[in-house]
């Protein structure tokens, strides 16, 4: 459902492989076209609602999308030429190094956001330079919050430092809340907001330094206190990314609920659909099948060379994220009982299809990803191009009940696909091995 934004940014990023391609201008145009497709389709589909939806609402929806993309940076492509050129001049002083890091992130971290800014400025006259500046401030807050969530979840900070940083992180959250209320900005409370950002920035700086110390000392040998076995919980990068993603999703659903209670259901329908999709766990699994999980495949294949064993592994990994995602969505659906069934039907139909597709694409186009969440090598362009229209088609369900048939077709397609995959797995496994280990 809400995969338009997601897929144009996450999946189509196969286009944005600047490293491999020198014809950057063409790729920039393609990137912009992809974003225009997303924004244009969103705008087109919203024609029914635009009568009730003001320009301000539209801006808010896009802003929420941009901030969420910032927080979920690890899912998104990075544009690194700036970073590379800055490296030789990197100052040794800790505070300057930190300042450079932040600047570096703002400039380089999110190519998609940059393209979105330019697209909006070019297309929509109501989107002004002032709006763009406000967005940049929002992104700074989002960067700091994201770092806090990430570091705290990774537990890379010593216990006695934790409480101090927790206090400072609260300051960061207060800063974010101040910005969350536009009334503060309108009434001239910029000073308070800026102080909050400075405090949060200081906390962020201290946290980075503490992590540096901790990482240095922990090289002597890290012990694990886990006794049980869980693939997701044992892969720290995956655990952090998926937990972070769910925190963001839960927060957005909470904000949506509050707004819907105030202003009614219909106005928020599209945003609701955007954040009540199973895209998060799916993308998590889809993007990382062969990162930390490469050797899981190898181990399982040694013991049981059947497709079902790998399928069970993927389901086992997906089980927890999907369960959390479903619970979040169902709670949201129950609390906002006025919502039509379309969201829930589409949620489960797309969830089933996407799980099967993640299995299918990961075997058809296995890429060896060295890091847990490397976005430089991702899924194939073909997979992206096919998955994008499949997912965006589910948006049609909000136009007419007849389109519910799409959901039925998806479930049938998923069943057919999984049966065929298991049948032909034995022929595929050799090509998987050759791509992952040669």
């Amino acid at each position: 459902m809400g995969l338009i934004g997601w897929y144009t940014t996450v999946k189509i990023k196969a286009f944005f492989r600047w490293k491999d391609n020198r014809s950057g201008i063409i790729y920039a145009i393609l990137g912009m076209a992809a974003m225009l497709y997303a924004v244009g389709l969103l705008y087109l589909l919203m024609t029914e609602l635009t009568k009730r939806l003001s320009v301000e609402h539209f801006k808010h929806i896009l802003l929420v999308t941009v901030v969420s993309m910032t927080v979920l940076r690890k899912f998104l492509p990075q544009y690194i030429p700036f970073r590379k050129s800055l490296l030789p001049y990197h100052p040794t002083s800790a505070i300057f190094r930190y300042a450079f890091n932040v600047l570096d992130e703002i400039l380089c971290f999110n190519f998609v956001n940059t393209v979105l800014f330019i697209s909006l400025l070019l297309i929509f006259p109501f989107f002004t330079i002032k709006d763009a500046l406000t967005w940049i401030i929002w992104i700074v807050v989002a960067i700091i919050c994201r770092r806090f969530i990430q570091c705290l979840l990774e537990q890379r900070i010593r216990r006695h430092d934790f409480f101090l940083l927790l206090g400072l992180s609260l300051a960061a959250i207060i800063g974010a809340v101040i910005f969350w209320q536009p009334a503060f900005i309108n009434t001239g409370s910029w000073e308070a907001a800026l102080i909050a950002i400075v405090v949060a920035g200081l906390a962020d700086f201290m946290m980075e330094e503490k992590i540096g110390e901790y990482e240095y000392t922990s090289r002597q040998g890290v012990t694990s206190s886990h006794t049980g076995f869980n693939i997701l919980m044992n892969a720290p990068v995956l655990r952090v990314a998926v937990t972070g993603a769910f925190i963001v999703k839960a927060l957005f659903l909470l904000v949506l609920t509050m707004k819907m209670q105030k202003k009614g259901v219909n106005e928020m329908m599209f945003v609701t659909m955007l954040f009540s999709s199973p895209a998060l766990p799916f993308t998590y699994c889809f993007n990382n099948c062969w990162g930390p999980l490469r050797n899981y495949w190898f181990s399982i294949d040694q013991a049981d060379p059947n497709g079902t064993a790998i399928w069970r592994l993927q389901l086992r990994i997906m089980a927890l994220p999907l369960a959390i995602d479903s619970i979040l969505t169902i709670i949201f659906y129950i609390v906002n009982s006025k919502l039509g069934p379309m969201i829930l039907v589409s949620y489960f139909a797309s969830g089933i299809l996407l799980c099967v597709l993640s299995y299918y694409w990961s075997l058809r186009f296995p890429f060896y990803v060295k890091r847990g969440f490397s976005m430089n090598v991702n899924t194939s362009t073909v997979a992206s191009l096919i998955t994008l229209p499949i997912c965006t088609a589910l948006w049609l369900t909000c136009l007419s009940p007849a389109y519910y048939l799409i959901a039925v077709a998806y479930v049938i397609a998923a069943l057919v696909l999984i049966i065929r995959m298991n049948k032909f797995y034995n022929n595929i496994r050799i090509s998987v091995y050759s791509k992952l280990y040669r």
Binding site: G221, V222, T223, S224, H226, R294, F298, I300, P305, S434
Partner: protein
């Protein structure tokens, strides 16, 4: 388990890595594959595990020809790959539990074997068990991978370079383990460049050279000239220049 490699040819592009290779790995035998780098040792192991397909020839498992090796056969095999493909994000205990479960080892037996093998391979097995594999040294990782490969007591044990990166004490321990492990039902096939450990295991030596099997006979025959060391015999069999020649370098 008896595995027979019959006239197998494997090419990578235009390069022929194995050319009409035929080897019989008999039940109860211990085989050491020796060869220079790129001789095709790992390729042979991958063929036995069906990770790659041969261009021509066939591999028979207990006289059966399998397009895909059934899980029942895979469960009877243990494989130590090179490079190590272990799950570094897990602790040693978790990895061994995971591997044991994959092979259906009963929990009580798994716990017992895990403790015994860790005690045998490591000085402080309790501490090692809790450590994440990622923070261990290469040699320690090798020992953990070895423990994972033998945890289900496979009938056919394939070890690709089991002694590389190991200290002499650990290598000697693994030699002793293999000597004790071998019986009339079990087969061990390993590759090695560390020839000094071979005498303790007394394997059948198979030399791969120029994509072919150059030599296939017991160690006793390999060093029939008792004045020669194993490495001298190998140099002779491979017909290479005397490696002790000092090269002048300016």
């Amino acid at each position: 388990m008896h595995i027979s490699v019959d006239s197998v040819t494997k090419k990578y592009g235009k390069i022929t890595v194995l050319d009409q290779v035929s080897i019989d790995f008999r039940q109860g035998g211990c085989y050491c594959i020796i060869g220079v780098n790129g001789a095709g040792k790992s390729t042979l192991f991958n063929l036995l595990m069906q990770y790659i397909k041969a261009e021509t020839g066939e591999i028979l498992y207990d006289t059966h020809r399998f397009q895909v090796l059934p899980a029942a056969y895979k469960q009877r095999m243990g494989y130590l790959s090179e490079p190590l493909n272990i799950l570094e994000e897990l602790s040693v205990n978790q990895y061994l539990d995971f591997t044991g479960k994959l092979y259906g080892v009963a929990p009580a037996l798994l716990q017992d074997r895990k403790e015994r093998i860790l005690q045998f391979l490591f000085e402080d097995q309790e501490e090692i068990g809790k450590k994440r594999i990622a923070v261990l040294s290469t040699g320690m990782k090798k020992k953990v991978a070895f423990a994972g490969a033998i945890l289900h007591s496979p009938e056919f044990l394939l070890l690709d370079e089991p002694f590389s990166a190991l200290d002499p004490v650990s290598a000697k321990k693994i030699c002793n383990f293999l000597s004790g492990y071998l019986n009339e039902k079990r087969t061990i096939v390993f590759s090695s460049h560390n020839l000094e450990y071979l005498e303790a295991i007394n394997p059948i030596i198979i030399i791969l050279d120029d994509a072919k099997v150059k030599y296939n006979a017991p160690l006793a025959e390999f060093t029939s000239n008792h004045s020669q060391s194993i490495s001298q015999s190998l140099m002779e069999k491979l017909k290479v220049n005397d490696s002790s020649t000092v090269m002048q370098w300016d």
